[in-house]
Subunit: 213 residues, 2 copies
Amino acid sequence: MRTAILIFEGLTVLDAVGPYEVLRSVPGWEVSFVAPEAGVQRADSGALGLVADYSLEEVTDPDIVLVGGGAGNRPLMEDERVLEWLRSADSTSRWTTSVCTGSLVLGAAGLLEGKRATSHWLFLERLREFGAEPVSERVVEDGKVMTAAGVSAGIDMALNLAALAAGEETAKAIQLGIEYDPQPPFDSGSPAKADPKLVQQLRGQLSDQLRDG
Amino acid sequence: MRTAILIFEGLTVLDAVGPYEVLRSVPGWEVSFVAPEAGVQRADSGALGLVADYSLEEVTDPDIVLVGGGAGNRPLMEDERVLEWLRSADSTSRWTTSVCTGSLVLGAAGLLEGKRATSHWLFLERLREFGAEPVSERVVEDGKVMTAAGVSAGIDMALNLAALAAGEETAKAIQLGIEYDPQPPFDSGSPAKADPKLVQQLRGQLSDQLRDG
């Protein structure tokens, strides 16, 4: 299985690296990092660069295509070259997937029309703009489209994908290999569980960002 | 708080990126990626490159130092320049930390002598070679030394660290921001929970690797 992970300037790195670490561990699978232009893509934090070995034109018909999130993916939503690459990849893919706000890019490419999908909780409702039905779940599967909630949800999505495409035994071995036995010190990982004040605070920060930038 | 994450050729990327995504989200904190030589470090999979903006000499006295794992850290355990950098960083750090087999590098630098520590479950017992007491827990704190179990455990460690150093409210807000509400599809993330056959299989693969190379 050939997986193409689309990265870009201003990505949220864990969106891409969480699923990468799972998918690259499936025996025989191959993962490639692709960007509008090959080379170093700086993270949204500015503190890290990730190398895309391939430009869009160098990666055609991947079996799995994955788009992550981060403020840097907003320009992609208006970049016809990127959107056309996604539509073309989707036309032959076995799975078309996203993590976090990567689903907005899939939506902008027209690939979520009439589909159930998820996104980072702060952006979930925006999926409606693309004809998708927002679903507040960690991993949402609709046909061959699989979408994950915010940032860390890509790890769970990739384990689901590995189980479906390579078998449960393989997925379980990978989970053991990356010792994924999560023990967060708090139960604050979703708007349904976190202190409503924190939820409000993050919604406020987002509004400020959208207004300012 | 200035955090230095040591990366290197052949790293397991999620070891570094999991905690990075948490620590870079603490308001006012700064994360730098450091390597023996600045520039692109290829992952253990070969499929991805991470950019270290700084060489060892360019980063002195970080407040937090973090070392990740991956087969590529074995040469570091005999690289006196790296070990001396770690000892020097530790002499002034507020926290000295590791993820996965990064604890073996801390051990090789002499920083785990007499301390409780953890590592990837496959390598846990090796901590004894460095005078440490292996502890089969996901995150282990002993004084200012904090060690995490395999790969994905760095996310939990970083949330603990953020809570200790910046307050629980901050850590909870970050958990909500990265939507860390883990829902692995299986309960196979530790040797105590996984099918014993899988545990045996991974131990066998490790023995093969050690024998062959």
